[in-house]
Symmetry: C2
Subunit: 314 residues, 2 copies
């Protein structure tokens, strides 16, 4: 049945077809198919976070394949786990979808979730499928700290360096190009559809003594604002420290605006921004972008902010 729908195969048929795509790992004592999953938490603590993606809000069916939706949904959650200094171990997935959803949509979603999770050694251990008019994908990620203290948003100290792991502005530029409707710049569009968080650098920064850390999902300035507020400090972002990305410049010319708009306020790249004490030797893939001072708020030196990130409901 290549075109079978959720209605054709029923709830349990759909679940069976999804579950057979999923892998397992030594951390999973009991996977899908029971009332609940059982996952190892060797550290004696478990890190947990949840994100919800809604059709036409977080993804468009004419832009994203279901595989890409799965990748992105997993990435958004696993980046949050990495931002605590932890490593993802398991995902749970809720899928609300219309009865005429093609079974292949659900199995492609599962493949995307599986493949993104595999990047950190995590697996899908459970879920729920229900009917709704629009597709809603809710993902919960669990993670293990491996003995590390969790890195919160609240520990930044004056004198700390602000550092960035991963790309910024690519997702926002890709999104702007998709909305603009002209010839897309493929690598930027792909950055929007399937972000590539620097998972390993979360625990690495924790090991290096990061005093605070945050996943950049709302936009750099908004997320640094969270750190500044939670830590009771001021953050200076030095725009000169950002390498000029020719692709972002091209995108800015197409849609109008400045490439730093994408970098400073664009969300969804799921980069990691952290603060580290002075003198820490930064690992490859991590760059200094600013400094922590006494005070409050976030200032960008060398650029005038034009937005404050993305607020649902606004």
């Amino acid at each position: 049945m290549p075109d079978a729908t959720a209605r054709d195969v029923g709830e349990f048929g759909l679940i069976a077809r999804v579950v057979e795509r999923l892998g397992t790992s030594p951390s999973v004592l009991l996977g899908p198919g029971d009332d609940a999953a059982v996952v190892l938490a060797p550290d004696g603590r478990v890190v947990a976070t949840t994100d919800v993606l809604v059709e036409d809000v977080h993804f468009r069916l004419d832009w994203s394949t279901p595989y890409e939706v799965g990748r992105k949904a997993a990435a958004a959650n696993l980046a949050d786990v990495a931002a605590m200094g932890a490593v993802g171990t398991a995902l749970l997935v809720g899928l609300a979808a219309p009865p005429d959803l093609p079974v292949s949509w659900a199995t492609d979603l599962a493949d995307g979730l599986r493949d993104e999770a595999a990047l950190v050694g995590a697996v899908v251990v459970g879920g729920d499928t229900v009917t709704s008019e629009r597709i809603v994908v809710s993902v919960t990620a669990l993670g293990d700290l491996g003995g590390r203290a969790p890195v919160t948003r609240a520990g930044a100290q004056p004198g700390d360096r602000v550092v960035l792991a991963g790309r910024l502005g690519w997702s926002a530029a890709g999104y702007a190009l998709l909305r603009h409707g002209g010839v897309p710049i493929e690598v930027l569009v792909q950055a929007h559809l399937t972000p590539t968080p620097p998972y390993d650098l979360g625990p690495a920064l924790a090991d290096l003594g990061a005093t605070s850390m945050c996943d950049v999902s709302d936009g750099l300035l908004a997320d640094l604002g969270h750190i500044a507020r939670a830590s009771g400090v001021h953050v200076d972002v030095e725009s000169r420290r950002f390498v000029r990305e020719p692709l972002l410049g091209r995108a800015a010319r197409v849609v109008g605006g400045h490439p730093l708009d994408f970098v400073m306020t664009g969300g969804e790249d799921h980069a990691l921004v952290a603060t580290v004490p002075p003198g820490v030797l930064l690992p490859e893939g991590v760059a200094r972008i600013g400094i922590v001072k006494a005070g409050s708020g976030v200032r960008v030196i060398g650029w005038k902010p034009t937005g404050v990130g993305w607020d649902h409901f606004a």
Copy 2:
């Protein structure tokens, strides 16, 4: 602002108003407000399950208060945790809702989640709020096994007794009355709107050596079917062992049908059905309802099944 909406207060304003309703517990090392929560998992394993509730599928705004939706969403998940023989420790909640959602709807939902979770000592540790046309509430529950082996659906042995903890059929009868539209029987309607799972009896049955256990969410026959299939056994349900509930009889007369229809096929009471070896002294609140035999499938002695539970997408 008594009539403020999600749009009025914004995403972060809404989250702040929800979070201030929530409590904490000694198990929670880091609660809402960071990239992820950190919860104790003293057992070295964590039990995890997720359920999604959709407006007009799982609840109706003209039937349920948001407080009741919160109670029910928490109960559905915490019952799954109990069915493994574990005790809930934490909930994560995804709320997708329209921008014109009253803030009071979200805070009442949070109160319901908090109060139901408090019955087992669990707390809400994190979540996500996003926009969507219809309300979707996704809840993930975490739990701790306290050293017990998880009780799966797969361990039932011929000769085991089938036992039930909690009420059956009340939710289905209440739902039938609501749909029927006549004068409701309040206690049945309330059983539908806010089920009362026998949380403590899950770990208690695990301690007594339960060989399999399952939360009754799809209907007794469907859920015993899961146990029969997973365990490779046949299950006989003895209808004479069910006490005749006058209220179910009244409901059946109003809507047409047989009270045992509610008992055998009605879901959402979140009772626990388990199998225990012969000779186990059953605790108060647990009743024998059948026996496990070699073979396959589920049979009800003394009643003819008329349904097979609830299949989303069907």
